[in-house]
């Protein structure tokens, strides 16, 4: 189970990595594994829109099931990963890299501290034993 230590995590299995002042957001390796083959990623929030912490920002559709996506922190939508439109399977193959979903300019970078560390997330999903 890949749980990079340079990310913060939510109980809904999103990860956040701060990169040059932007919060890059995707779903975790555990989440993609549980969902199985991902066939659509839909982001319902437009670039430039304000988004609140834990607000839904889209959905991820796997063959078997659909799952809602939630913003880990408040801020302004800065970018959407358009490449996922043609290659949603990237979320399965590279969830923490090319499979990123959105970038948010955080209202307060300090909000990241309220999210789980890699260690805490590993504990939550039972991957620390």
């Amino acid at each position: 189970m890949n749980i990079p230590s340079d990310c913060r995590y939510t109980k809904d299995h999103e990860w956040v990595r701060l990169d040059d002042g932007l919060a890059v957001i995707g779903i975790t390796d555990y989440a993609q594994g549980e969902l199985g083959d991902i066939v659509f990623v839909e982001v319902d929030v437009d670039e430039g829109d304000e988004i609140g912490a834990e607000d839904p920002f889209g959905t991820v559709e796997a063959v078997k099931t659909v799952s809602e996506l939630f913003a880990p922190l408040a801020g302004t939508m800065e970018a959407i990963n358009e490449a996922l439109e043609d290659a949603p399977e990237t979320v399965n193959s590279d969830p923490y890299g090319e499979g990123w979903m959105i970038k948010i300019r955080p209202a307060d970078e300090g909000d990241l501290d309220g999210l789980m560390s890699a260690e805490e997330y590993a504990h939550m999903i039972g991957a620390d034993s």
Partner: protein
């Protein structure tokens, strides 16, 4: 009260292969190994091996077996020859479906029914109650626990089979089966190999004892590896059957759905070919429904654009009025689009292929086009 999950004789094989397991019909079953899409494609292009040992098997034996089955199921079992299987339905008096099933005829007085795992108890109660009421001169025996079932499916299935045994003819016709002598098929004491399946591809289903199942599983996987054979789970089984437009009990077919509504009129024979009425349980209600007009019809659809119309989502017409419900929906690996089945009013305005409808997917309406399955043989629009 917690219920312990049952396991199939191949459970340790699934765990060793790293399958993702999920409870299904009281069994701990493999949903996927490498991934649903990969397994699905393997079955369409080469072959897949499924463990479907959770299915139920019931022996019906005795001089009255044929007459009893003619009363039990909707299809005309008098047309089934020795060594032949038939797809059929059994109904309540209301015409609603108890289950869909396969009947296998070994001899006029020796039959096997193959029923859905989720319905084993309900089916047995239904069969036994009819058996008691009819006084039929035959026995009904649940053989589910003594029977493992493997499905080898795909265009390479028969080639793989030839590599492990010459006991099964390479040209075994569809819905025919063989029962090789003891030891003739991979050392199995008693085994049935039938040209049947639930994927829309050529292939066989292999009924054997639980003790023989792991050996058959291993031998097939090894023999077919270089031809592209992979283990395949229930996830791919579902996308394959949906692409083929096959009904799944609990979705397209239920206690409240008649076979006519579910598009299974072709296995619902109200009379023999000589014009004699067949008095199967539910025939009167179905005859009435046929005379009055079937109120709703199962249709297939392809999503036009992005999105997956899943089970339970409302089907709406172009005016946005709710006219029906999706019974099964998924992504078609072949088309790269969403596909599904659902009920709409039995009116050509809704059922004619090419008709544009929509499915309410959460907050938005996704356009769909009524399409006759099998979906994977359509050109993507």
């Amino acid at each position: 009260m917690s219920e312990t999950l049952q396991t199939t004789p191949l459970h340790d094989r699934h765990l060793a292969l790293g399958a993702k397991m999920m409870p299904f019909a009281g069994f701990d079953m493999p949903v996927q190994y490498a991934g649903i899409l990969d397994e699905h494609r393997a079955v369409r292009e080469a072959a897949g091996l499924f463990d479907v040992s959770h299915m139920g098997e019931v022996a019906v034996q005795g001089p009255g077996a044929l007459a009893f089955l003619q009363r039990l199921v909707t299809n005309d079992v008098s047309k089934v020859a020795d060594g032949q299987a038939q797809y059929t339905v059994m109904c309540h008096e209301s015409g609603g479906a108890v289950d869909d099933l396969l009947v296998y005829r070994f001899a006029e007085d020796d039959w096997m029914l193959v029923i859905n795992a989720s319905n084993i108890e309900k089916d047995l109660a239904h069969i036994r109650s009819l058996h008691a009421a009819s006084g039929a001169d035959c026995t009904v025996t649940d053989r589910s626990d003594e029977t493992a079932l493997l499905a080898l499916q795909g265009p390479k299935a028969f080639e793989i089979l030839q590599r492990v045994s010459d006991a099964v003819p390479a040209d075994l016709p569809f819905y025919r089966f063989v029962r090789p002598a003891a030891g003739a098929f991979l050392g199995c004491e008693d085994v049935i190999v039938s040209h049947t399946g639930y994927t829309g591809e050529a292939g066989v289903e292999i009924y054997c004892s639980p003790g023989d199942a792991p050996r058959v599983w291993d031998a097939l996987l090894e023999a077919g590896a270089d031809l592209g054979l992979v283990p395949a789970g229930l996830g791919a089984r579902d996308t394959l059957r949906l692409e083929s437009g096959f009904c799944l009990y609990g979705h397209e077919l239920t206690d409240e759905t008649t076979p006519l509504e579910a598009g299974l009129g072709w296995v619902t024979k109200l009379e023999t070919k000589d014009g004699e009425p067949i008095a199967f349980v539910g025939a009167d209600a179905i005859r009435q429904q046929k005379a009055a007009g079937v109120p709703r019809k199962l249709v297939g659809f392809v999503v036009d654009g992005r999105g997956i119309a899943r089970e339970g989502y409302p089907i709406v017409n172009t005016e946005g009025e709710e006219i029906g419900t999706v019974t099964s929906g998924s992504q078609s690996p072949a088309l790269g689009s969403g596909i599904g089945l659902g009920f709409v009013p039995n009116d050509a305005a809704y059922t004619a292929p090419g008709t544009r409808l929509a499915v309410r997917v959460r907050s938005r309406e996704v356009p769909v086009v009524v399409t006759k399955p099998p979906f994977h043989k359509q050109k993507a629009s």
